[in-house]
Subunit: 244 residues, 2 copies
DNA sequence: CGGGCGCTTGAGGCAGCTCAAGTCGTGTGG
DNA sequence: CCACACGACTTGAGCTGCCTCAAGCGCCCG
């Protein structure tokens, strides 16, 4: 049955709390211009909502590209392997974020994605997105906007990597987590890192020891508290100032 | 007059050698699945084909986003300014490449684009692309593919920046230029750098002196010849091996 | 022909890496 | 439930690759 038919035959749905309509991070995956009706359409697309445990793979580099993945809860890292065989982390992704956009181009994932903790995922088959976007231009536009934003993010990261010293990189990293993790939680200034120091260092182009040292010195300066993976921001203005 | 009308009223065109149909880099801007008819449509979109001199701006950071730009010939750098006020180059772009995709997301350019030498540009109004892609899905798909590829490129660059030593960065940079510049020219192994050592260093996260030194040592190893901005690749396999 | 920019090369310093040792926290098996 | 073991983290010491500062050359353009 074609998706178009499916949509027209759709009855008023029974409340389904796994539906996007009730998803607490909906406004993050689908930020704008998607009205009630369109949510129902998207809802139909979401094939499954698998739950991943720590170290479970969402996809491997080289896998055929089928779906985009929206993170409902949890945390995921994506990484590629450099030609030297070293693993290089390209990003950390949290609830409300969409991954897999880089695979559309040649229909294959060029990085691997692993859960850093218990994580719930919405898999959205790309074929369906393409089909639906013929009828609902807003969805295609939203995908385009998200991709554009991803390009911008990557380029900002490139700018940071090219010019920043170790302390700046760590400060920016923490500030970025602050904006992405805390704005959607009750805690205002405390969050738990889902990744190791080594993974942070890998991502930032630093050794794990340097990450540790710089976090210690940020603590000595009264800017953050560090208790293993629990980070508390004590002076956000100072933290932000270091990034600049 | 709406674009749709314009298309239906279109007569068989007089040969226009500035048209995309006769553009030598067409297969690069519009790599796949765009047939003769669709080229005519795109052709109508291209508002103007301005010629830029060295140091002319294509757009500034903060400008309202109106058009995507395809480079017909020449070379362009894009850069943003870090919060510290430093200029950070995010990319070099050559004939057949498309720039401005990162501006779609919030309708504003977040980097500036400057010609590094005499450069001819096709400006393609994004509004028109959006309108046309309602009728010609292949065009929207092509934009999506190009964006996806840009994300991938940026992420590969991030991986490189995170893990590579100076010599590797310079070697990869030269190898990347080899693939992008030489494949569309007659010369097999010689090309002219359109940018300064300082710009290369800025892009790669190195000082200009380090770029110079590493190029000298690549020369001493018999891998490249350097004659000011004229680079000749003497041992491509060795060059590629260094990147790995 | 002169001035300036782009580039090369040298010398010295330092940020961050590597190696190493020791602590702490967590998960696992008895 | 406790003990043990291993992985994660911190901190120290020494090393090195890249940066900074500096001087000099050469090419290009006015």
């Amino acid at each position: 049955m074609s998706l178009t038919k499916k949509i027209s035959q759709r009855v008023i749905p029974i409340k389904d709390f796994s539906s996007c309509a009730y998803c607490s991070v909906r406004r993050l995956c689908l930020p704008v211009s998607v009205d009630r009706e369109e949510i129902n359409i998207i809802d139909d697309l979401v094939a499954n909502r698998p739950s991943l445990n720590k170290s479970d793979y969402l996809f491997h580099a080289g896998d055929k590209f089928n779906s985009l993945y929206a993170i409902k809860s949890g945390a995921v890292k994506t990484y590629g392997s450099t030609k030297g065989g070293r693993e290089q982390i390209t990003g950390f992704h949290f609830s409300g974020e969409l991954i897999g956009l880089d695979a559309i181009g040649n229909n294959m994932h060029n990085c691997s994605a692993v859960a850093l903790e218990k994580t719930v995922i919405c898999a959205i088959p790309y074929k369906s997105i393409e089909e639906v976007s013929l009828h609902v231009p807003a969805i295609q536009q939203e995908i385009t906007r998200l991709m554009s934003r991803e390009i911008r993010n990557d380029e900002e990261m490139l700018m940071a990597m090219g010019s920043m010293r170790a302390e700046q990189r760590v400060a920016c990293f923490l500030f970025s987590l602050y904006r992405r993790l805390l704005l959607r939680s009750k805690e205002k200034y405390t969050f738990r890192l889902p990744m190791t120091r080594e993974e942070i260092g890998n991502y930032l182009g630093l050794s794990l020891e340097t990450v540790s040292r710089r976090m210690s010195s940020l603590h000595e300066d009264g800017i953050i508290d560090v208790e293993n993976r629990l980070i508390t921001l004590r002076d956000i203005d100072a933290l932000q100032a270091i990034c600049h």
